[in-house]
């Protein structure tokens, strides 16, 4: 892993970022907006991949971390009137604290029990949003008004509702998280995480406190997902309970499986590809859950390594 040539890996990732930058000026309006959304959701998928791909922990509750960022930022800005940066920070903090608590509890279990426990905690989070409807808007959700989504720097200001600003903000967050993920998986800590995934008992016997390492991974993963949620609230202005529902715990799993678990670029590829498929098929059917369902089954049956995982196995062994 960390012995593969760093220039190649960083070159590829910077190339992808540069490509996304150039696309901002080439894409027609509809796809421009869609790609901004996909980049934000790909951050969600990258956060999920951190835990599922590299540590091998399959959570069915990551919607709560996305939701923590979404509602943390959204409530701070709507109910408390905070500024954009403060609201974003609030979203991150909510995600970090929630993932720490959930990690401490859920990591006492393993395997199937871990999946069910995370799903149940996420369900509690979702129901709590519905229950405190006076604050959260219940299943109607809340709209973040345009004036609240302006970043002011003294005299100049950045309007996050402007398509180009929004795209660049999404790209900025995406690039930051992508390079951070790359740095983590190439680091010594990344090596320990993979070791835990491959054989936790053996990793303990090499002197690693695997619980603490896993807990740190849950917090990093949860915080990245919260960053995605907070960015979603600020960039797209809608804070809705459906983003905390079970379905939004399944979607990042699907994106990561499709793109390739434990690959740094897989989450982006998976999210992009899934949106593309839904976009293409929307002409024929509105039953998009049907496609999600079929995709999940086909992936686990015939394509468990996903797109990039297969490419890495067959052709490009150095792919991070």
């Amino acid at each position: 892993m960390s012995e593969a040539s760093p220039a190649k890996a960083y070159g590829l990732h910077l190339g992808v970022i540069a490509l996304l930058f150039v696309l901002s000026f080439l894409l027609p309006e509809y796809y421009h907006g869609l790609l901004a959304r996909i980049m934000v959701l790909a951050v969600f998928a990258m956060g999920y991949n951190m835990l599922f791909g590299y540590v091998g922990l399959l959570s069915l509750g990551h919607a709560m971390f996305f939701g923590a960022g979404l509602y943390g930022a959204g409530l701070a800005i709507i109910q408390l009137g905070w500024s954009v940066p403060a609201a974003f920070a609030a979203g991150l903090c909510c995600g970090a604290v929630l993932s720490l608590v959930i990690g401490l509890l859920a990591l006492r279990t393993t395997g199937v029990a871990f999946m069910i426990v995370t799903m149940m905690f996420a369900q509690v989070f979702y129901l709590a949003i519905l229950y405190f409807a006076a604050w959260t808007g219940g299943d109607q959700g809340m709209v973040v008004p345009q004036p609240a989504r302006v970043l002011a720097f003294g005299a100049t200001s950045l309007d996050l509702t402007d398509p180009t600003v929004r795209y660049m903000a999404a790209l900025g967050l995406f690039s930051l998280v992508l390079l951070m993920t790359l740095a983590i998986v190439r680091s010594r800590y990344g090596r320990v995480l993979v070791a835990v995934r491959e054989n936790e008992e053996r990793t303990k016997m090499l002197g690693y406190d695997t619980f603490s390492n896993k807990l740190a991974a849950v917090v990093v993963s949860g915080t990245i997902c919260a960053a995605s949620g907070a960015a979603y609230a600020l960039l797209f202005g809608y804070v809705g309970s459906s983003f905390a529902s079970v379905q939004y715990s399944i979607l990042p799993l699907l994106w990561v499986l499709l793109g390739g678990a434990a690959t740094t670029l897989g989450p982006l590829i998976g999210t992009l590809f899934m949106y593309y498929v839904i976009d293409v098929t929307s002409g024929y059917t509105s039953a998009y859950l049907l496609i999600v369902g079929i995709a999940l089954i086909l992936l686990v049956l015939f394509f468990p390594k996903g797109i990039l995982g297969t490419i890495r196995q067959r052709w490009l062994g150095w792919l991070p």
């Binding site: 509890l105 199937v112 129901l127 999940l296 089954i297």
Partner: protein, 293 residues
């Protein structure tokens, strides 16, 4: 009404819930116990049972009992056949890997739900009860049909228990649960046992749904609550334990009615889900289970 009759009513209603829940959860529990597969699509098999019951009763017409009895036989058979196909085509090919099968059954959940929406539609539709006899108690009248649900469920549970403990099929199932490799070595076709168990689990859910549909209507999203409650029941009762499942179902069914008298349904669900998650974290063998695997 005074407190006593009120409590009696709540208890009766709770027992009806328990009866249906016990059957549904038993299906989930059998599948998990024997195959180690967590079937997230279990609630959708329940929903299919109810939707098919509506389709069959409306196709047959005549006396409601006739259609209902037909539904009680045909709907579970169709659901069982669908489950069998899903098991052959998907779960078996995944070699029953616990994590892959969860992802696959999530896929099944979406497919079944979406197909039900497409072909059955978003409406809730009623099914007429097979008979409408009311039992008159000193304080209130009570639906005889609801009492018959409790009786039917009890009979089915006893039958399942007898099959599991007294017959060769039950012995094979228990042996497979205990050690599938050794069972295979004794020449038992474990693959066929798994297929049968998965179909049986789905059929139990479908039967439960046919029994409840005359009092609750059929709807394409109706599988979600039974799935969650069944999870709660088998976690509390201890995964894969028949007696624990029944005890927990009665407990949850009764408390569901009583709790919802004091709390809003949402808050009740929040508390119940949180408590069950905590049970799974701190006492994974369940409240009644002892042995852990």
């Amino acid at each position: 009404m005074h407190f006593g009759p009120h409590l009696l009513l709540a208890t009766l209603e709770g027992l009806v819930t328990s009866a249906v829940l016990a059957l549904t959860a038993l299906g989930l529990s059998l599948v998990f116990g024997v195959m180690r597969v967590v079937n997230v699509a279990h609630g959708e098999f329940f929903m299919l049972g109810a939707v098919l019951a509506w389709a069959i009763t409306s196709a047959i017409g005549g006396h409601p009992a006739l259609g209902f009895l037909a539904a009680l036989v045909i709907a579970p058979l169709i659901v069982g056949a669908i489950a069998l196909v899903a098991e052959r085509l998907v779960l078996r090919r995944l070699d029953y890997n616990p994590e892959a099968t969860i992802v696959a059954t999530i896929g099944m959940l979406y497919i079944i739900q979406q197909l039900a929406l497409t072909f059955y539609g978003p409406e809730a539709r009623p099914v007429e009860p097979p008979f409408s006899y009311r039992i008159v108690l000193p304080w209130f009248g009570y639906s005889g049909y609801k009492l018959s649900i409790i009786a039917a469920s009890a009979l089915l549970l006893i039958a399942t228990w007898l099959v599991l403990t007294r017959t060769r099929i039950g012995l094979i199932m228990r042996a497979t649960q205990y050690d599938s490799e050794t069972t295979q070595a004794f020449g038992i076709p474990v693959g066929r046992v798994y297929g049968g168990v998965f179909a049986l689990g789905a059929m139990l859910a479908a039967i439960a749904a046919v029994l409840i549909v005359p009092i609750s209507q059929a709807h394409y999203l109706m599988g979600q609550d039974p799935l969650l409650l069944s999870f709660i029941v088998i976690i509390i009762g201890g995964l894969g334990s028949l007696r624990g499942t029944v005890v927990a179902a009665v407990l949850i069914g009764l408390s569901d009615g009583i709790v919802s008298m004091f709390f809003s349904p949402t808050l009740a669900k929040i508390i119940a889900t949180l408590l069950v998650a905590m049970v799974l974290v701190f006492r994974p063998q369940g409240l009644f289970g002892t042995a852990s695997r």
